[in-house]
């Protein structure tokens, strides 16, 4: 499945400045793994060592929080976008 992974500004140093990555993946987990293969270190900014999503990071498939779907196993179809939304503190 060809999907778009949207990279937040805080993680773009790991993607050469790319705002979006085109990756293949049938699930959110597979999409993250594909991104990690191309941009090592990216997944560690999204997931814990045990593979779970960091508690201050949100993942959305299109408009929906993956916690309301099937988590990292949420299936993806061609054209879907996966957005990474980390907590930001400043004001």
């Amino acid at each position: 499945m060809a999907v778009t992974l949207r990279i937040p500004p805080a993680l773009r140093s790991l993607t050469g400045g790319a705002e979006e990555l085109a990756v293949d993946g049938g699930s959110v987990r597979a999409a993250l793994d594909a991104a990690e293969a191309a941009h090592p270190g990216l997944k560690a900014r999204v997931c814990n060592e045990d593979g779970s999503v960091l508690r201050f990071v949100n993942l959305f498939v299109n408009e929906d929080d993956i916690r309301t779907l099937e988590g990292l196993d949420t299936p993806l179809k061609d054209g879907d976008s996966v957005s990474i939304i980390p907590a930001i503190a400043g004001g």
Partner: protein, 244 residues
């Protein structure tokens, strides 16, 4: 409840709190209680639009309350304002929330954001929160209905302990907090107009000029849904990577 009878607590009169409270004063909100213990610095002026050169060195809460009172009068509104020169802390939360209908939070550190979120969830007070660093940020409105509605911990589950930037370490761009502060004010006005405000997480990227809205829902395993947070014990907020 109407906007003219709504009493708003503004936590942090900085980059977010300045444009948000300015918009609310000019829209005719009933009362603005401004809490901040900081003073105006030259580096604040590019984004903290309530202050001018002549205010450098003055305390933000008092200056903001004065400026907001004037702005409301100029717009023809009888808005009252109140300055509280302190921080929103576990032992000041109850007093600061007394008589308040809605909280608008624009603090610059995670500890305060989570503390405000927890205090509002426990008191069932609606809260509009936001955060911004560099060119991007987010905003979230939570009505905090009982028994358990959406709260910030449903979305950002706990205080990040590392791997995050704050505006103190990375800076923040004026127009970004201007947009997000205005959005906070818009959400506050919507709440006063009895419109539904929660269920959406807004993210804004200034360089891309893109505001996105995504659906969020209350989590059954949120600590507030489970009743795991019943108080504001300081140690829950003390070990964060707070910027101030």
């Amino acid at each position: 409840m109407s906007l003219g009878s709504t009493r708003v607590l503004v936590v942090g009169a900085g980059g977010l709190g300045s444009p948000a409270s300015r918009a609310l004063a000019q829209a005719g909100v009933g009362h603005l209680r401004i809490v901040d213990d900081d003073i105006v610095e030259v580096s604040n002026l590019q984004r903290q639009v309530l202050y001018g050169d002549e205010d450098v060195g003055a305390d933000k809460a008092t200056t903001a309350a004065r400026v907001l009172w004037t702005l409301a009068r100029e717009a023809g509104h009888p808005t009252s304002t109140e300055a509280v020169r302190t921080r929103f802390l576990p032992d000041t939360a109850a007093e600061l929330l007394a008589g308040i209908d809605l909280v608008l939070e624009g603090a610059d550190n995670f500890a305060t954001k989570f503390l405000v979120a927890d205090a509002c969830a426990l008191a069932a007070i609606p809260c509009v929160q936001a955060g911004a660093v560099r060119w991007s940020g987010w905003a979230l409105a939570c009505a905090n209905r009982r028994p358990h509605g959406l709260c910030m911990r449903c979305v950002f589950e706990d205080i990040p302990r590392d791997r995050v930037e704050t505006c103190a370490t990375a800076g923040v761009v004026g127009p970004v907090v201007g947009v997000l502060g205005a959005l906070q004010a818009r959400l506050a006005v919507a709440w006063a107009r009895r419109e539904s405000i929660d269920g959406r997480l807004y993210s804004y990227h200034g360089l891309e000029g893109r505001l996105r809205r995504r659906r969020v829902r209350p989590r059954a395993d949120c600590p507030h849904a489970r009743g795991a947070i019943q108080d504001l014990r300081p140690e829950r907020y003390a070990a964060s990577c707070a910027a101030s």
